[in-house]
Symmetry: C2
Subunit: 338 residues, 2 copies
Amino acid sequence: MFMKYKNVNIVGTGIYHPSNKVDNDYYIEHFKNLGKDIAPFLDNLGRKERYIVNNTTENALTMAIEASKNALKIAGISADKLDAIVFSSDTPEYLCPSNALIINHELQASNAHTVYDLNSNCVGMVVALDQMSRFMKTSKNIKYALVVGGILVSSIARDDCKYTYPASGDGAAAVILKCTEEDTQRGILDSKYCTRSEYYNTIVSPCCGLTKARLNTTSEYDKKQQWTPFPLNFFAPEWSKAIDEFMCEYDFSLDEIQYFFLSQYSKQFLIETARILNIDNYEEKFAYIGDKYAYTGTTSPIFALHETLQNKPITPGAKAVFCSVGAGVAMCSLLYKF
Amino acid sequence: MFMKYKNVNIVGTGIYHPSNKVDNDYYIEHFKNLGKDIAPFLDNLGRKERYIVNNTTENALTMAIEASKNALKIAGISADKLDAIVFSSDTPEYLCPSNALIINHELQASNAHTVYDLNSNCVGMVVALDQMSRFMKTSKNIKYALVVGGILVSSIARDDCKYTYPASGDGAAAVILKCTEEDTQRGILDSKYCTRSEYYNTIVSPCCGLTKARLNTTSEYDKKQQWTPFPLNFFAPEWSKAIDEFMCEYDFSLDEIQYFFLSQYSKQFLIETARILNIDNYEEKFAYIGDKYAYTGTTSPIFALHETLQNKPITPGAKAVFCSVGAGVAMCSLLYKF
């Protein structure tokens, strides 16, 4: 008897960024005028350039639609093949209807009956990929799904906050998932979550809460994101622990992991995770795109995935891990087999 | 050999509403001053009373925390037993971090590592129950999950909109799910989705989009919800079709369905669905709480569930269906076995 596996594989990715490119100099000058030298901070993160929306027509939703079209093209399917659409963002354009439903409309994805928005901030797309793969595996009806995220961080960043304003970029990224029965197990295999909610009040948007943010008597500054510094040094140990557990539970060795798609907030996350795992050639295996696009929040590990799939060799059967983190702090790690 | 089923059962529910009760007279008088007689409209919906937040300390998040505490009490478990928390709302208090993560913190649910917000407007909690049950069935680690929703509709309703302002109430509802291996299959069994996105621009919040809503140059009126009338008469036929398909696929008859938990927007939804299904004694089987609490959006079918579980007999092995609808239009039907 041949056992068939219900696999959920990534069959296409797409990204989109606005056309307006901004380099470090702009932000270094801006903060110099505030009496702060942020050059060493940006250097430590690994920042060089980012794309920022400088018009009133683009937002997280419109960019997500463009990224989705690009992903559909690479997957080689038309939008009417989609059975589900999940949108992930902490800067959604609408709270009603779901942005996923508007994407259904704009793509003319008339068979995508399962539509919803999922928000877990910067870890959102990794969570959404996990969620949707579990949905597909337990559903009779879903063959193709679109998981798409967008971020318009320029609309919420305070221009005196070094942690967000110069560190982030706007953009969108999309993944096409295909559920298919195969002889060997591959695709999205498993996930691990770790939440440490004692940091719930460190990155808050809108700072005043949405109820007060609807009032014009509240200052625009209070409506933006507040970032209070907190330790970031437990992310790499936590991701390394998740990776160790994956290796143990799925019985494979570290060198079977071809690529690591981590949160792109800081290059130090990659270096530190590689150090803990005793990986020497980290630049080969840890995709870093934070120099080109800066930190694009929920979409950041997907930007790294997209650039890798477009430019690097993929070995069928090799593993990949996605490790990311969202405000508050919520972490998720995902195990994938090509 | 005995086959074991991995069942996801509802083991506790809780609701919360603000203390300020408002009856129809207030709204009838308000609209009379605008030159409109809304008494027949409210009567048709089945409205009598609703609870509205009239202070600055309560919002969808704080109410969700209270509903969660009530559900935990009924389930007889402490918050540290929770492995996952999902929050559903189209009036969330924060976009960052997730409201689910703040609920983790406030309940001291330190083992609830899987936390995220899911938004599909008024159908959100039904979708979240479906999602989380699939997550639990495919995960090794999740025994207890909290699915909680909250709505502060009073913060987005325009006071000249008869479809929302007098029709809705504020509140929160919570469900505790338990994943357990049992000899017979029960709990959340399956779902059906139907999205008709041609109505994507009929119920929109914020009307101006969130990007513009952050600016104090945008009027508060433009930041609220816009409701443009659209046909509601295809909901009941769609839900009836989903129920027919459940009966066919799971081989049971209509009289095995003990309760129908529908969207509580209009009593006519219940009457029409019962009519299509040829059910005579609709008031016995179709829980209606829209008279007592008005329409509480995403939480409305869960208010109906909670009131039924508290006040009516439950037959083990009997079926229930949840059928709801969200803006745009997204519908979801869920099959449950007690």
